[in-house]
Symmetry: C2
Subunit: 218 residues, 2 copies
């Protein structure tokens, strides 16, 4: 299958590597065609890994993944182009972290809105599914790095797109029963608002390799 990835950061490259390893074809998209990170990634990825612009990646992918920082996601997806996203599953992995001069972290948007919702509003013909933003990049594609059961969450308006997202997460190693459906895309709010808690856990543990396992009454 063909995938377009918007963003050449750690998350984008980790997922691109995994998709290529799974036998898929990937275009890793960046702001400019001559982005060195993108070109270097494609060089080492072999014949099924390509680099291009955000628009190239969106046009290429049957499925598109947004791996940009949440504060620039809308701009990146505008550059990708609404017509190249229309009708496709668009997996939004972003978190809208804002770093103050004092080193304090906050979210924008937050509380009454989320990046997931912003994207769905601005690209109504894309099928946005929020997913994967709650774990560190290595865990996204290798959940077995942690012992036992632990969970991912999804939110989106289109049931078919969510089923496709669960199948994709299954290829990454996440059993379908480990993925908890939080309902429509406004569930992205709670998923993004996990970030301040996640950052505190990371600070306490001294590692980003942890995840939530939800225990419930049977």
């Amino acid at each position: 299958m063909r995938f377009g990835i918007i963003g050449t950061g750690m998350v984008g490259r980790t997922i691109a590597d995994k998709l290529v390893a799974l036998g898929h074809e990937v275009t890793l998209g960046s702001r400019t065609k001559d982005n060195e990170t993108g070109l270097a990634w494609a060089e080492q990825a072999g014949p099924t890994g390509h680099a291009g612009t955000f628009a190239d990646a969106a046009a290429f992918g049957e499925v598109v993944l947004n791996a940009t920082s949440g504060t620039v996601s809308l701009a990146a997806l505008r550059a990708a182009g609404a017509e190249r996203l229309a009708g496709k599953l668009l997996v939004d992995i972003s978190n809208p972290l804002v770093f103050s001069a004092e080193g304090e972290v906050s979210l924008d948007p937050v509380n009454t809105d989320s990046v997931g919702e912003q994207i769905q509003r601005e690209f109504p013909d894309a099928k946005v599914v929020k997913a994967l933003n709650t774990v560190t990049a290595p865990l996204m594609v290798e959940p077995g790095r942690l012992e036992g059961e632990h969970n991912l969450f999804i939110a989106g308006n289109d049931a078919g797109a969510k089923a496709d997202a669960v199948a994709l997460l299954g290829e990454f190693g996440w059993p379908a029963e480990s993925v908890i459906d939080l309902g429509d895309i406004s569930g992205a709010r709670g998923m993004e608002m996990l970030m301040p808690f996640w950052l505190r856990l990371m600070r306490s543990f001294g590692t980003a390799e942890f995840n939530y396992s939800i225990r419930r009454a049977r």
Copy 2:
């Protein structure tokens, strides 16, 4: 030991019942001395359960617990009186949920502040520890309702007060190793911001009887 509880809602009464059952003496505080819920609780609680005003509860307790809604916690604690909180462990259980006319839930404060921090700023002589706001009331005092390991979180500026809070949580049934320290009181931000996620999980599961178990690399 003597405990003062600020707030006669479900959380306040659940914790008051547990403290009395553990052999402690409790004053359950409300806005007015003749609050019916408070009086009815004290009536059935027996000789070690009392009802009174917020000020009565704060004066009575060697430890004080804030079990009011986060949107009214500062007003309730002002009524309790700074001088009656000074030097004491003040366990803040609140979540600042705001319900819109359309039924939408948001938080106030959020993102760059929290109720825990607001309380610590306004009552600098109290030793505020954020705790217990991440689980439903029955679980607060009976973690064994869920199988296996699951976690609570604490945040606060005073190490001794946090140790006392962990000991109190131990009396409630939470092993010390299940309580994760998120650092100073600004960690309350992430704990309160779990609420939108928690509400979505509750909607998905159809029950509030669930909790987070944090899995990490060993």
